[in-house]
Amino acid sequence: MEENIIETRNLTKKYGDFTAVDQITFNVKKGEVFAFLGPNGAGKTTTIKMLTTLLKPTSGDVFLNGHNVTENPHETRKSFGIVFQDPSLDNELTAYENMQFHAILYGLTKEVYKKRIVDLLNLVELYDRKDSYVKKFSGGMKRRLEIARGLLHNPKVLFLDEPTIGLDPQTRNHIWTYINNLNKQENVTIFFTTHHMEEVQRIAQRVAIIDHGKIIIIGTIEDILKKAGTKNLEDAFIFLTGSKIREEESNVGLNQMRISNKLMR
C-alpha cells in the first residue's frame, strides 16, 4: 500500500447556516501531484486553509504527514510549504530578506539557509534580483519568489492555491516546469488548485473536483474523462459542475479582500 501524506475524514466547515465545505473525505499519496479543482466559491481555498492550520474545521479530521492538523498544528506547519492565492510577501523588504525572514521563522540555521536561499533563488531565476525590493517586482516574479520561499524549509507537501492566476503563458510554463521538476527530483507532494485545465492535464496525476462544498469526483484524468464521456478535462469539468456562472458568496468580507488584492497585484 502506498502511504498517504494527506488524509481527510468528513471534513466540514460551516459559517453560520452556510456550509462552505461539506463532509469531504479524500487522500493524497506521498509524492503525488494532486489537482483540487472547482468553480469559484466551491470551497477550494477553505479546504486548503483547513489543511494548513489557518482555519479550524467545524467537524471532521485532517492528517498531514501523520500529524493531526487541528490537535498538533505546530508539527504540521513544519511539514508543508504554501503559495497562497493572494500575494503574501513583504513589499518593503528585498527578495533575499523575505527568504531570510521565512528561514528564521522556520528555525533554519544560518549555514543551512544561506546556501539554500541562493540555490532556490537561482532555481526560480531571481538570484540577480535578490537585493531588489519586492514592491518593484512583477506579478510573475512575486509568484516565483513565493514558490522559492515555500520550498525553503524542505516541506513534504507544497500547497499552491491558484499559483498561475493573472500570469502570462511564458511565466505559467516556467512555473509548472519548476513544480514538475521539484516533484520528480525531490519527491515533494504537490497539492494545487487552478482554473486552467490544460495545466492539470499537463502535470496532475490525480484530480478531485469539488462543488458546493462536496467532492463530486476523484480519480485520474482518464477516470474523469471516462465518467464524463468527454474528450478533454475542460468539457468534463463543465459537464460535471454545470455551465452556470458562480457568485463567490462564501465569507463575503474575505472574498472582497481577495478580489481587491487581485486588482492591486
Binding site: 486553509k49 494548513t52 492550520t53 489557518l54 482555519l55 479550524k56 505546530h74 508539527e75 506547519r77 513544519k78 508543508f80 504554501i82 497562497f84 493572494d86 500575494p87 503574501s88 510577501l89 513583504d90 513589499n91 518593503e92 523588504l93 530578506e97 531570510q100 525572514f101 521565512h102 528564521i104 521563522l105 522556520y106 528555525g107 520561499r149 468580507g253 479582500m257 488584492n261
Partner: protein, 247 residues
Amino acid sequence: MSAIYILWLRQLKRFIRKKASIVGALGQPIIFLLAIGFGFGPVYAKAGAGNYIQFLAPGIIVMSVLFTSIFTGLEIIWDKQFGFLKETFVAPVYRLEILIGKTLGGATVAIIQGILVFLITLIAGFRPQLSSLPLAFLFLFLVAILSSALGAVIAARLDDMQGFPLIFNFLVQPLFFLSGAIFPIKDLPPVLDFITKINPFSYGVDGLRWAFNGVNVFPPALSLGVLCGVSLVILAVGAYQFSKVQL
C-alpha cells in the same frame, strides 16, 4: 527566540526605510511644543507654576511614543490585508512569539521616535536632570510596550482600516489628552480626576516627569507597577486574541 528576533528586525527595517514618515511623525510634537508649549507658557508662568516647556516636554515625548507604538501595532491590519500575516501564521511559531516580536518591534521603533522628540524638546528649551536618564528610559520603554501591545490587540480584532478614525478619536486621543501630558492632574474636577487616574498613560507621563524633573503626583513605584501590570494584562488578552485569529 529567533522568531521574535526576526519579527522585531522586520519592524525596525520597515521603520528605518520610511524616512518620510519618521520626519512626518515629528510634525505633531513640534506643533504641540510651539502652539501649546509657547502659547500657554505665559499663562502658566503667571499662575505661578513655573516653566511650562519644562512641564510639557515629558508629556510630548510620551505622546510621540504612544502614537508611534499604536500605529506600528495597527500595521498588523495591513499585514492581514496584504497577506503577510498568513505567511507568519502558517509558520511553526507560537502566536505568543508573534505577538511579543511585534510588540517589541513596535516599542523599539517608538522609542527611537521618542528620542528624536526628546532632542527636539532640548532645542525648545527643555532642561532635564540628565543623571536620571536611565530611569526616564525605563518609563519610556514601559509606555512603548504598553501602547504597542495595545495596538496589536486592537489590530487582531479588525479586518480593515475603516475603524481607524474611531480608534484614533475615541481611544488614542483621549489616552493622550487625559493623561496629564498637557495639564497638571492636581485639583481637577471629580470626573476628570477619575478619568486621569484610571488612564495608565497618566502614570507613564508622571513617571517620566519624575525622572526628568523630580516632580511627581503618584509614587514612582506605583507608576512602575501600573505600567507593568497593565502591559501584562494587555499582552495576555493579546495572546488570547491572536490564538483565535483565523485567516
